[in-house]
């Protein structure tokens, strides 16, 4: 920021200064919603080893945004359409059975390449969106409107509600698909449903956080949480706590520094994951010298 706010050692007054600006309040609210949504959906994504699918869905924002600009639609519509279609394409081509997440990767790669190619095509047909490239990649955290926060809240409640409704069968189908199928759990339907929820979460959040950041929040906090605990409920709660901490810290520090929010959130998320990994390694060494 150009005003150059100064950081004092009095944390309370720092936070008060921060919250005096409506744009900061909106940013904090948006970041909190995004963090909770990404942490929960991401926990399942990491457990299912579908990070590649998640990454591909976040990349779909590119053809989504450029396609919407070309067709004269609102950008948000483009995001939801592109992510939804890609989720269906990945879900339909994916296999069911033992190694389905491994064999699915070829299909995902194809979807990603196709999406990028389409994005470039749309871009070459309409260059006006080029100016928004940085926003597309790194988000518009500090330019979030109150309406956007409300929209985000609605999407998050929908997506989290869906996760809550299918939570246990989804967990069953994720870790033990063969037995789940034998028990009558609709594994294939859950696979597609989860991809759609993932697509919804990615489309909603990447409009604000940018393509790179949504993926950071989707992967690092759940992965760190799963390294610490293998207990599902504890893991989910820890993942949410990590994501919130990373998002708030990133926003707070960005306010007082010259570097952008996206950079800070990514750095904190990365730092969190690396320190948990090192911590675990050190613990394992202490236990088995």
């Amino acid at each position: 920021m150009s005003v150059g706010p100064t950081f004092s050692l009095d944390l309370v007054s720092d936070v008060r200064e921060l919250l005096a600006f409506p744009f900061m309040v909106n940013a904090l609210q948006a970041a909190s919603i995004v963090a909770v949504l990404a942490a929960v959906v991401g926990w399942y994504m990491v457990l299912r080893r579908q990070s590649f699918a998640g990454h591909t869905l976040s990349v779909m924002a590119f053809p989504g945004a450029t396609g919407a600009a070309l067709a004269g639609l609102p950008t948000a519509v483009g995001y939801y359409l592109a992510c939804g279609l890609a989720a269906l394409a990945i879900g339909r081509t994916g296999h069911s059975g033992r190694r389905r997440f491994a064999t699915e990767s070829a299909a995902i790669g194809t979807v990603q390449a196709t999406g990028l190619a389409l994005g470039f095509l749309f871009l070459s047909l309409n260059r006006s969106v080029l100016g928004g490239m940085e926003t597309f990649l790194f988000g518009t955290f500090l330019g979030v409107s109150h309406d956007q926060v409300l929209t985000l809240l609605v999407v998050a409640v929908l997506a989290l509600g869906a996760v809550a409704a299918i939570g246990r069968p989804l967990l069953f189908a994720s870790v033990d698909p063969e037995v789940a199928l034998a028990r009558g759990v609709p594994v294939a339907l859950l696979d597609v449903s989860f991809l759609l929820i993932l697509g919804l979460a990615v489309a909603a959040t990447s409009q604000i956080t940018g393509v790179l950041l949504v993926f950071t929040l989707l992967v690092a906090p759940p992965a760190a949480a799963q390294l610490i605990t293998a207990q599902p409920v504890a893991g989910l709660l820890l993942s949410v706590a990590f994501a919130l901490a990373v998002a708030w810290l990133g926003l707070g520090v960005a306010y007082f520094s010259i570097y952008p929010v996206g950079f800070w959130i990514t750095m904190f998320a990365f730092g969190l994951y690396v320190s948990v990994r090192i911590g675990r390694w050190a613990l394992a060494r202490r236990r088995r010298p």
Binding site: L47, R49, R98, A164, A165, I166, G167, R168, P169, L171, F172, V175, D176, E178, V179, A180, L181, A182, R183, G184, V185, Q226, L227, A230, Q231, P232, G235
Partner: protein, 289 residues
């Protein structure tokens, strides 16, 4: 386990031992255009322990999946507790063949067993009413009980991926037993166990079978660890099946007829059976390469 009357009913399965649990009549399965087996007639009663034997590729797993309703029949019929298999899924405990979890699987053994009990339920596991809380407690006790029954209590709270193959197998047996199923389908449960543990698991399955009146179908490659416990065997080879008591089925003439080649069965002084001269993985339908 002492439980309040009424609530326990959800976990108990009805039926008396001696009733027909699984019935196949003239069953045939065609996969990828090739007949795996045909004309299989089979009846397994409650409280009966049946081993399913046969060379690799004979269709043992396919037969098990047929009874689970996961593979359609091309001819004949299959009935489980008098119903279509798809209607009785919650009454069947299933352990698929060679299922193992790699070291990155971040879920505890106890969670996996728990999923066997409640993994099919939709919605959040919120226990608000007194009845729901009581059920919750009964289910938790049931999970603990079945884990100690399988002798897996010492490592049930460790991430499943960190356990040895045999330890994983015991937890998976606990998972298959947790709902007190009327039919138990175990596809090579002795696979990754050492000899003493094979004997322990065989004895455990027989106890469950006799005490709870469960119909057990257990796929194995070696009949010897099971000899003291079995009621009958089903021998699958060459697309046909032969069922009956061990001493009637596992004989030179019977197996020679089934394989269409000269087979001898030797009996060692301690009663063990050795099948000699069986052709390496006989395929009645020839392979594609």
């Amino acid at each position: 386990m002492t439980v309040p009357a009424g609530t326990a009913v959800t976990l108990e399965s009805g039926g008396r031992s001696g009733d027909v649990a699984v019935a196949l009549r003239g069953a045939a399965v065609t996969l990828g255009g090739q007949t795996v087996f045909s004309n299989v007639d089979l009846e397994v009663r409650r409280g009966e322990f049946v081993a399913v034997l046969g060379p690799n590729g004979a269709g043992k797993s396919t037969l098990m999946r047929t009874i689970l309703g996961l593979v359609p029949l091309s001819a004949g019929s299959v009935r489980v507790l008098g119903h279509e298999p798809s209607e009785t899924r919650s009454e069947i405990g299933y352990l698929p063949q060679r299922r193992s979890f790699d070291s990155e699987t971040r879920i505890r053994g106890v969670d996996l067993v728990r999923l066997g009990l409640e993994g099919g339920r939709w919605g959040l596991p919120l226990a608000v009413t007194a009845g729901a809380r009581a059920r919750r407690r009964i289910e938790r006790e049931r999970v603990e009980e079945v884990i100690s029954l399988a002798g897996a209590a010492a490592y049930a709270t460790r991430p499943i991926g960190e356990l040895s193959g045999g330890e994983q197998q015991r937890l998976l047996i606990a998972q298959a037993l947790v709902r007190r199923p009327a039919v138990l389908i175990l596809d090579e449960p002795l696979d990754s166990l050492d000899l003493p543990n094979q004997a322990i698991v065989a004895a455990l399955v027989q106890r469950v079978c006799a005490v709870q009146g469960v119909a057990v179908l257990l796929v194995a490659h070696d009949v010897n660890p099971l000899l003291g416990y079995l009621d009958r065997v089903i021998y699958l080879a060459g697309g046909k099946a032969l069922a009956g008591p061990v001493q009637e089925v596992i004989t030179g003439p019977k197996l020679s007829e089934l394989y269409g080649a000269r087979i001898e069965v030797l009996r060692t002084s301690d009663g063990r059976l050795v099948v000699v001269g069986s052709p390496e993985a006989p395929h009645h339908h020839g392979h594609r390469h």
